[in-house]
């Protein structure tokens, strides 16, 4: 750690991992509810478990992004953070607001929660992923703006690098596109437009900038390859990501009442969305192969390479599988989508946050890398979680194909629930893969507590 103020990243990373554990527990609960419908009913109904599962994911990734920014920006700008105190205050505000929201989901019926939090003043609730009550949404905006103020002020007084500019652009985009969540028109078509402007332009737009910047930062650090080379790749990747991602929004307009030409625009440009991810994979491996030094933190290098591969598979390949309009006509909203969602979020965003945590955490704890033993355990957790996620994705894909066949393609289509019964076996296998994932996550947690001879900071 080169700058004292980078230390504020630590609580963000710890909170991120803590909420990650919560997310997986709720994932296991709802995974079981797929096959044992009344499990934990009425305490935790499926819709609540799902809301908690997805909201926790978003919140912990945001914690991860913010922690990453607090770690990365001082080092890139070569100056202390503008206000470490503000960063710590925001941490507690965000954590408490997040915790209260989840408790609200769990202990108050959603309709009551909506009534109590002013949803009749400005209706924003009830849409997938944007379920947060109005005060939480406002809180997110306030925290995001104060966070961006802090980071931007730091940038202004320090060195401006391509990596930190791309990261900042991504973070500003994240905050700006979230503002669409406050607009909830009655017209269902328009409503869907604005909803996708948040959801799609986040994960297939500005988040990719954050992903690319974080990956580039870690790769510079662990490979020692020239900044110029890495920045050039970064520019190509983000241009491709933005062009394909923004026009690719069209793949959500197929069936919501938008004009027909979106089936062409959406199909063609979203079919090209794997390209930036492919470039990212080539980039990561290329840089590691051309490395000028052997960084002692092998685990971080593994996570970085894993991000490249899994992001390409999950976001790129599994996205492409069902993005063409004629295919999507059948697969829309089936388990194929769930398969893609799981591997894309894990491969792109979960893994990149763990990559930066894996790289930064030892440094924050005063050593260049963890002990051999701790790293071996961390690599075990990498393989357990990654392989488990591959199987979750494959089982959901199988379930999805069967579902599409039975429920939509067949001459005598089954009803939704009858088809669900037919694919129950795959849901069971998915749940077991989920248990393995959870074991991997516990292994990951354990790796933080393994003692052993740590490697000193090379200075």
């Amino acid at each position: 750690m080169q700058y004292k103020s980078q230390a504020v990243a630590m609580p963000y990373f710890i909170a991120a991992i803590g909420l990650f554990v919560g997310q997986i527990i709720f994932g296991l609960i709802m995974g079981l509810q797929y096959v044992v419908g009344d499990f934990l009913f009425p305490e935790i109904p499926f819709n609540v478990a799902r809301m908690v599962h997805t909201n926790l994911l978003i919140v912990w990734l945001l914690f991860g992004f913010m922690g990453a920014a607090y770690y990365l920006v001082p080092e890139e700008t070569e100056t202390e953070l503008y206000s470490p105190k503000l960063a710590l205050i925001l941490f507690w505000v965000f954590l408490v607001a997040g915790a209260l929201t989840v408790l609200g989901y769990l202990f108050v019926p959603y309709a009551t929660l909506a009534q109590a939090t002013g949803n009749d003043l400005l209706a924003t609730m009830g849409r997938e992923f944007l379920e947060q009550p109005l005060p939480t949404k406002l809180g997110i905006v306030v925290v995001a703006l104060a966070f961006l103020f802090n980071i931007s002020m730091t940038m202004l007084k320090g060195r401006k690098t391509a990596i930190s500019m791309v990261l900042l652009l991504g973070l500003w985009g994240l905050a700006i596109f979230f503002l669409f969540s406050f607009y909830n028109p009655h017209n269902l078509v328009k409503d869907k437009f604005y909803w996708w402007f948040v959801v799609h332009l986040w994960v297939e737009g500005v988040w990719e900038l954050i992903l690319a910047a974080l990956l580039a930062f870690v790769l510079i650090k662990v490979t020692g390859v020239d900044r110029e080379v890495i920045e050039k790749w970064l520019y190509v990747i983000i241009t491709l990501a933005l062009v394909t991602g923004i026009i690719g929004t069209g793949h959500h307009y197929y069936w919501i009442g938008a004009p027909e030409y979106w089936q062409w625009w959406g199909s063609i440009f979203s079919a090209l969305e794997p390209i930036p991810f492919f470039a990212m994979t080539v980039f990561a491996f290329n840089m590691v192969n051309r490395r000028r030094r052997e960084h002692p933190n092998k685990a971080a290098v593994l996570w970085a390479l894993g991000t490249g591969v899994m992001a390409f598979l999950g976001a790129g390949v599994w996205g492409f599988l069902h993005t063409l309009a004629p295919v999507n006509f059948y697969t829309h909203g089936t388990q194929i989508t769930a398969a893609h969602g799981h591997m894309a979020f894990y491969g792109a965003y979960v893994m990149v946050v763990i990559t930066i945590i894996s790289y930064a955490m030892p440094l924050l704890r005063g050593r260049a890398a963890n002990s051999e033993k701790a790293q071996v355990l961390e690599m075990w957790s990498f393989w357990l979680m990654t392989i488990a996620m591959v199987f979750i994705t494959l089982f959901l894909t199988a379930a999805g194909i069967l579902q599409v066949w039975l429920q939509r393609v067949s001459d005598t289509p089954m009803s939704f629930m009858t088809a669900q019964d037919q694919v129950a076996l795959f849901y069971w296998m998915r749940e077991w893969a989920g248990v393995v994932f959870f074991i991997g996550l516990l292994t990951y947690l354990a790796s933080f507590f393994v003692k052993g001879e740590a490697k000193a900071v090379a200075s």
Binding site: Y235, V236, P259, E260, Y261, W264, W265, I268, I275
Partner: protein, 200 residues
Amino acid sequence: MNTASATALTPAPPAAQYRLAGDLAIWIFILAELLAFGVFFSAYAFTRAHHVELFDAEQRALHRDVGALNTALLLTASYFVVRAVQAAERFAARASSHWLLGAMVCGAGFIVLKLFEYGAAFDQGVSLSSSPFHMFYLSLTFFHFMHVILGMVILAALWFGARAGRYQPGDMNGMETGAAYWHMVDLVWLILFPLVYVIH
């Protein structure tokens, strides 16, 4: 070949001297662009196969003269860019910037003609939703149009660079990178024009 430019003439290089003119990054970008246009062209062609009469009839209504003139403008701009590169390679920065200016004038001519063409089409009720042919005609040409505009920005950057004497033998990477992009914009139009305006 002309003797005046004999210095620019070099024998074909041995294998070890193979070299991409321009940065590797722009070439990866160009490949992605070509792929996008290739997919778009194929989509046009296969959709046409289902609506041959409609496509043929509406294609007749396009301004082929404008399309052909625009092709010539893009080719001329490309030619000027080649001359600009050659000039920079023999330390003639001023001449290089003049050629680039000429290329930009051609590019601007393309844009003006295209806007006239769009204006006329919109007056006749052509829109993205009016027919499959119109959807492709507008989508393809507009997607290309955006590339011409980006190409103009790049040419302008090269022009400033050339005036500042930034490009010379041994330091041609920036100029070659920009030139490669402009030629790509030209290249895709060489398919687009016969495909959308002529072949039926």
